[in-house]
């Protein structure tokens, strides 16, 4: 099933187009990496895929329902989200629990299952021991991990990550790619990730979308390539 499809999309800031002639499909349950040099409009492409930006021309279609007929839920971890909210007055557990709010609505209480999912999300990113710490007391990499745990706690059908491994060490990055591979393979979650570290993440991805520059036409040519996929036991970053 195609979750999001773009056809001949052109988009830019001001007068200059930064993306032109983009056509791409994202399928359910695949782990896709978007890559390209700095300034290649990778985040812009993500925002177009999510419907946060409107293209100048071309079309973006996003399926708003899952195969079961439920409303599609999307988890998003923007670039450096943790850095912008370093003074946020919350403990780690409180912040990660807020990931469930979109499913709970205004008044529904947390169920035992949701408590379990929050705990599991924190354990998977190796932050369970820090659950009572204030968010502002954590390092950049740790904040990034709790933002990922928060997105996972919301049990999204689609998880969109913009350079999620910034601030993580190599061991943490490898554990993270394995974790995302696990969610895509075992839970059918679609994972779209902007990354620079293809040499590390490539072996876990289903597909790579590379942005390349064409003379005076902005970033375009999405060369997409399939990857070999490695399966393994349920991983965690600990």
């Amino acid at each position: 099933m195609i979750l999001s499809s773009m056809r001949n999309v052109v988009f830019g800031y001001g007068e200059t187009p930064v993306l032109s002639g983009i056509s791409v499909d994202i399928h359910q349950g695949e782990f896709v990496g978007i890559t390209g040099p700095n300034g290649a409009a990778k985040t812009t492409l993500l925002k177009l895929l999510l419907g946060l930006l409107k293209p100048w021309s071309g079309s973006v279609h996003i399926h708003t329902e899952t195969l079961k007929g439920e409303r599609l839920s999307i988890g998003y971890v923007p670039q450096n989200v943790a850095a912008f909210n370093s003074g946020f007055p919350s403990r780690v557990l409180e912040l990660v629990r807020s990931g469930c709010y979109s499913r709970l609505g205004l008044f529904k209480r947390f169920t035992a299952e949701q408590h379990r999912i929050v705990e599991q999300s924190l354990k998977q990113v190796g932050m369970w021991e820090y659950r009572h710490r204030k968010v502002g007391e954590l390092s950049g990499g740790q904040k990034q991990r709790i933002c990922i745990a928060r997105a996972l706690a919301g049990q999204p059908n689609v998880l969109v990550l913009d350079e999620p491994t910034a601030g993580m060490d190599q061991q943490g990055r490898m554990g993270f790619y394995q974790l995302m591979r696990h969610y895509a393979a075992s839970h059918g979650m679609t994972v779209i990730m902007v990354t620079h570290e293809l040499h590390e993440s490539g072996q876990y991805l289903d597909r790579i979308i590379s942005l390349e520059q064409r003379e005076s036409e902005g970033w375009q040519c999405l060369s997409t390539s399939s990857c070999s996929v490695r399966f393994g036991p349920e991983p965690c970053l600990e």
Partner: protein, 289 residues
């Protein structure tokens, strides 16, 4: 002092504003809109001036102007996404300029505006008290019902929007509530210092609180302490309540900062003594995962 009805009203008004204003302040500070209240009070003054000029109820026109100002700030914030503070500057200067021009058209009205500028205990009449009560009740219901969406929007608007939250509508309604609270608080604290009721208790709370609910509670307690002590001093020393309340809130904030600094220094020196006691043994260092 409580034998006077105006003092009873002032304390009631202070108690109600001491709940809603600091809570809104916490959200405003976290959304980087600390100057929102200042802006809306200036716009509200223009509304009061317009109401007086047209022979309408200035309280109603003041509220209408503040609500409109809130909506405009929110809209401009989206238009100037990279320089969102620009929206505050544009609306604040426009509001003040309009107020000055409107006041100059009826010079005899200018005198009565001093109570709006600096606040007055006697300015709170029964109707004003009911208004403050209504705004506080509506605000608390709003903040309770929408506490989860507001939390998510305050943490990160983009993430909240993608998760399906109607951020634009929520932000718009929040701006309306802020405008109503600012306009209701203006008579007692004054245009120039109305934001202190929101910003100073929130600043204190954000420094010391370890959780979101705790931040809201500390902000309310700090707000009450500042308002009640400020009103008492204002009565006995015969000085404007707005300035006195603001100074008391500032004193609370500075005291909290001082206590925090002393506690940090103490725990640091205790840690040093512990390390010295361990002699040459290298302390365990656990890297943050």
């Amino acid at each position: 002092m409580f034998e006077y009805e105006f003092m009873q009203r002032a304390f009631w008004a202070g108690a109600l504003l001491g709940i809603i204003a600091p809570i809104l302040g916490v959200y405003l500070m976290l959304r980087r809109q600390a100057l929102m209240a200042d802006t809306l009070s200036h716009v509200s003054l223009a509304g009061v001036a317009l109401g007086s000029l047209l022979g309408m109820n200035p309280v109603i026109t003041g509220i209408a102007a503040a609500v409109l100002g809130g909506i405009l700030v929110d809209g401009l914030r989206r238009a100037y996404r990279s320089y969102s503070e620009m929206s505050v500057a544009i609306i604040m200067t426009s509001g003040l300029a309009l107020a000055i021009v409107l006041m100059s058209l009826r010079p005899h009205l200018s005198k009565s505006f001093s109570s709006y500028l600096f606040g007055s205990i006697v300015a709170v009449n029964d109707a004003g008290l009911w208004l403050i009560g209504g705004v506080t009740a509506a605000g608390l219901i709003y903040l309770f019902v929408l506490r989860r969406p507001l939390y998510n929007m305050t943490f990160d608007e983009e993430t909240a929007q993608i998760s399906g939250l109607k951020v634009k509508g929520l932000s718009f309604s929040f701006a309306v509530l802020t405008g109503m609270t600012v306009a209701a608080a203006m008579p007692i604290v004054g245009v120039l210092l109305v934001s202190s009721l929101m910003v100073l208790p929130a600043s204190l709370a954000l420094r010391v609180a370890r959780g979101f609910a705790m931040a809201l509670l500390i902000a309310v307690i700090a707000g009450w302490l500042g308002i009640f002590s400020g009103l008492t001093i204002s009565y006995y020393v015969n000085v404007p309540p707005g300035g006195t309340i603001s100074l008391m809130l500032l004193a609370l904030l500075l005291s909290a900062m001082l206590v925090q600094k002393l506690r940090r220094r103490r725990s640091r020196s205790r840690r040093q003594i512990l390390l010295m006691g361990q002699g040459s043994r290298t302390p365990d260092f656990r890297e943050g995962v």
